[in-house]
């Protein structure tokens, strides 16, 4: 464990995004903009049935269209190695597991020709009856044993039933969240080309090393035979964490046609095979004494996954460490349906789970007549309530207090439905945020050039978060050199191996390896009396041992508190968030400028989730029917009122050399609960289902 926390000059200085100019001038090139010579274009054909078997695929009519090179389907696709993720076993089976599943790909000289020909691929299906709606009474719901991130599905302490029976105050409620789709600005895209047995992929992803490893497995190649290049990524939110099936498809099509192949997933297709957040049904039961101290917390969540893959969102994990209570039960159950496979979406688990928990806590506060900020403070645990270990640092209470002061919470009259501003009913609400501080192993090199510049290399990726800039600040401080002299290279699997930009652990993980490499380089420099030889100096570091040695005696999480002011139109039920304040405690903030963007970006997505977003399942046909940005509403500028994020600096020596916690996801955690709680305060009505649509609120006003 690295006990010292570095406090350089670059870290903590608000710094412009290094590649900002390239991006706003269009110079930055994204995956699909790479155009190898003689490239062909691929277009995906999808299943219009949700369950069944492919009887036959006939590509002959498509092949007769001008410019068409190949039609690849289960009939003629080369065999691929089976990997853990069944979605990547593309075109290998005749079984249709969901509507929109990939059944063929057409390759042609132009995108237009491929697309036009795709309509002429004839696929005959033997259709079966499908089952696509998540329902808590479904007898096929089961206990998956383990859930994502490796947590046990169930965690049980004490006797919740007895505690609930004796509780002075009780809440027993069911909250529902719909499916959500990530919808990054840049849809998934891959350009694949083979040179003999060597494969190069320009790809939009959250980690080049991971894509390389998985694709190498699928094609039974050595990792060195695959190179993945992704200098710029236009957002991901989890959906590009592992390669999606189109990456395999691009490589497969390129191999079969012996041409480089460009494949861009359309926005509509993103609703089928690039992942989404599962809908959830959550039952929460809380028991408390009259003093507001929790005696029991029960959080039981139901999710869906596809027939292809057991993917269980870790919805109730946050509940295991948020509040003190002697009796606790948190569980996860799963229904396997004929639906697309869910995947990761910003703060998977915490986002839906904290919506449920923080709404239920608000209900308990109302029930008890205790201020919801105060109720949370009263239930602050001293140790991690389930693991029994101390927190490396925990400043939830400080966030709540500072937020309450800044927001003007003191003057709040708790009575619901009594504030009116013209046509608007006005209310305020609060909720807590949390996200774990993880770390994964990484490697990096640091190089000193004779001209006094430094180059740091690591296969990290900047998915729009400012990761490249943060690493440059970290490297500059570790090298004790000014920022201008340091260049960080990322986004290429040929660089030293590193993990994902995911789980809010990128900067912590990569920063550790970068710091170690830079420190090693400084030592080498010292050995050379500070003079860089003509050929330069280079140091390598691997953080695996340090990460493995992480002291398990601590519970590590970032925390926050969000305060929302909401207006609900008394005649129409339209809800708007006029004000949202988030105060976070997430270790040392590396770059305040991009950190603020991450926080307010997460909060914006949280408002969007609270009021607008939902993927609507078509019961009859079995797909998400609002599969474009006209139908799937994401917050527009006009939906966002005064938005403010700030933070409390933490000094935590139990994390990593920078003392940082992740900031990419915590901003979305708790927002929807803060908004929902404010809606209750405004209208007096609890809507226990997202989004807080006007038709749901109209019934209440």
């Amino acid at each position: 464990m690295s006990a010292t926390v570095a406090g350089g000059r670059a870290i903590g200085t608000p710094t412009d995004r290094i590649e900002g100019r390239e991006k706003v001038t269009g110079a930055a090139r994204y995956a699909f903009e790479h155009a190898p010579e003689n490239a062909a274009y691929a277009w995906i054909v999808q299943s219009p049935v949700a369950k069944g078997e492919i009887h036959s695929v006939d590509g002959s009519a498509a092949l007769e269209r001008p410019g068409v090179i190949a039609v690849v389907s289960v009939e003629n696709a080369p065999r691929l190695a089976a990997v853990e993720e069944a979605e990547l076993h593309v075109l290998q089976s005749r079984t249709i597991s969901y509507r929109g599943q990939i059944v063929a790909v057409v390759v042609a000289d132009s995108l237009e020709a491929a697309r036009e020909a795709a309509a002429h691929v004839r696929v005959d299906y033997r259709e079966q009856e499908h089952h696509v709606l998540l329902d808590e009474h479904d007898p096929a719901i089961y206990d998956p044993g383990r859930v994502n991130a490796g947590y046990p599905a169930d965690s049980i302490l004490g006797d919740v039933d007895a505690a609930l029976a004796q509780a002075a105050a009780q809440v027993d409620v069911v909250y529902r969240t719909p499916a959500f789709h990530n919808n990054a600005m840049e849809p998934h895209a891959t350009v694949a080309s083979w040179d003999g047995d060597e494969l190069t992929l320009y790809d939009s992803n959250q980690g080049a090393s991971r894509v390389r490893d998985v694709i190498a497995d699928v094609f039974e190649l050595a990792p060195e035979q695959v190179r993945v290049i992704s200098p710029h990524v236009g957002g991901a939110f989890g959906s590009k964490g592992t390669p999606r099936p189109h990456v395999v498809l691009a490589a497969l099509a390129a191999r079969m046609t012996q041409r480089p192949v460009k494949l861009a997933v359309t926005r509509q297709q993103m609703f089928a095979f690039t992942g989404y957040r599962t809908p959830t049904i959550q039952r929460l039961r809380l028991g408390a004494g009259a003093d507001g101290r929790l005696t029991a917390i029960v959080h039981e969540a139901i999710h869906q996954s596809s027939r292809l893959r057991e993917f269980t969102e870790q919805t109730t994990i946050a509940t295991r460490q948020m509040y003190a209570a002697p009796n606790r039960r948190s569980t996860h159950r799963l229904a396997r349906l004929d639906v697309p496979t869910p995947s990761w979406m910003r703060a998977p688990g915490e986002t839906p789970g904290m919506y449920g928990l923080e709404s239920a806590i608000d209900e308990l506060a109302v029930e008890l007549g205790i201020d919801p900020v105060e109720l949370r403070i009263r239930n602050e645990p001293e140790l991690d309530p389930e693991r029994g270990v101390p927190f490396s640092s925990r400043n939830l209470v400080a966030c709540l207090r500072l937020g309450a002061e800044r927001f003007g919470w003191e003057e709040r009259d708790p009575t619901p439905a009594v504030r009116r501003d013209g046509r608007w009913l006005v209310g305020t609400g609060v909720a807590a945020s949390t996200y774990p501080a993880y770390r994964s192993p990484a490697t990096a090199t640091a190089r000193a050039n004779a001209d006094g510049t430094f180059v740091v290399r690591i296969a990290g990726s900047d998915i729009g978060t400012g990761g490249r800039t943060a690493l440059t600040l970290i490297a500059a401080d570790a090298l004790e050199r000014p920022l201008e002299r340091v260049r960080v290279e990322i986004g290429d699997s040929a660089l030293p191996r590193a993990g994902l930009a995911g789980g809010s652990m990128a900067t912590a993980s990569w920063g550790t390896a970068v710091t170690f490499a830079c420190r090693a380089l400084l030592e080498q420099l010292q050995e050379h009396d500070g003079t860089v030889p003509a050929e330069g100096l280079e140091a390598f570091a691997d953080s695996t041992d340090d990460v493995r040695a992480t002291d398990q005696g601590y519970s590590r999480h970032a925390y926050g508190a969000q305060f929302a002011e909401v207006r609900v139109d008394a005649d129409t039920g339209e809800a708007r968030v006029s004000r949202l304040l988030g105060i976070f405690a997430a270790g040392r903030i590396i770059n305040p400028k991009t950190a603020r963007s991450q926080f307010i970006g997460g909060m914006t997505m949280g408002i969007s989730m609270a009021l607008l977003e939902e993927s609507v399942m078509d019961r009859e046909f079995g797909d998400y029917l609002n599969h474009d940005l006209a139908g799937y509403h994401i917050a527009a500028h006009a939906d966002i009122g005064a938005l403010e994020a700030d933070w409390i600096e933490e000094d935590d020596a139990h994390l990593n050399p920078m003392g940082s916690k992740g900031i990419g996801e915590i901003g979305i955690v708790g927002t929807a609960a803060a908004v929902g709680n404010a809606v209750h305060h405004a209208t007096g009505v609890r809507v226990r289902e997202l989004p807080l649509r006007l038709d749901r609120l109209l019934a209440s006003t």
Binding site: E112, E116, D571, E574, L612, E620, D639
Partner: protein, 334 residues
Amino acid sequence: MKPFEYERAADAAGAIATLTREAPRAMYLGGGTNLVDLMKLGVAAPELLIDVSHLPHDRIEPLADGGLRIGAAVSNSALAADRTVRARYPMLAQALLAGASGQLRNLATVGGNLLQRTRCSYFTDVSKPCNKREPGSGCPARDGDHRNLAILGHSEACVATHPSDMAVALVAIGSLVHVEGPGGARTIPLPGLHRLPGAAPQRDTVLEPGDLITAVELPPLPLAARSRYRKVRDRASYAFAVTSIAAALELDDDGTVRDSRIAFGGLSHVPWRALAAEEELRGLPATEASFARAADAELAHAQPLRDNGFKVPLARNLLVRTLAELAAEQGARA
């Protein structure tokens, strides 16, 4: 993508002649903001596009009777910004500005806006049946997703809504649509251009092949100077109406309603002129109780579907609130 030809029309007569000759494989193209989208989705597949957005129908001219003639190629942005429109028909300018986005309004034309097609999600997905797109294939919306579809005037065959904001204001104003077709020129009063779905939902309007909209005429309507458009939508901007209202109100000195114009968007296959409400209101005191009575008269025949019953109280509230606000303004002025 299907290959197609593109032709920029030199004059109206030529455009009409070509389209009449080439229909149904040819279509007029305005700003293209709806038609090109539908082509990308495979919903429309014209082989020949005749671009009428450059015809000399790009002027807004005052008429001798005090009305206004708006060329069909005038952009939605230009119309919304026109001083006369803003002063004398504020509900029209407000309706335009409530629609789409700045960029889209710069391209969208008056003619194209009137003829834009429904946003029903089955209509825009060619992998599913839809009577409007493929007559006789069925209407999955009726038992499926119809939260934002019709409560008035729908049929067994189709429950879609007309998505235009602008058209709602034009219908409230009682505008005239000037059309030139193979058989010569004619005018179609609004409402009257759009049709209820009945058994032929594939036909949105009464236009015949080759008919070209050349202009929209606004009658002189003094009460329209005291009008407003209010749009209720899921998202604060850049979303189609869940329900909208265009309303104008004129009071007598004694505070009773002399005249009104009311139209709803988002409730029907057509921009819905609320004639029953207007009739009910005449002579009643301008109170919320009267407005509610008028709303009830109009909505008495509403036939909500499983998931859109909320539109009945929503439309009612909207009518009451909007007229109450108009009445209060006039009270303040008097």
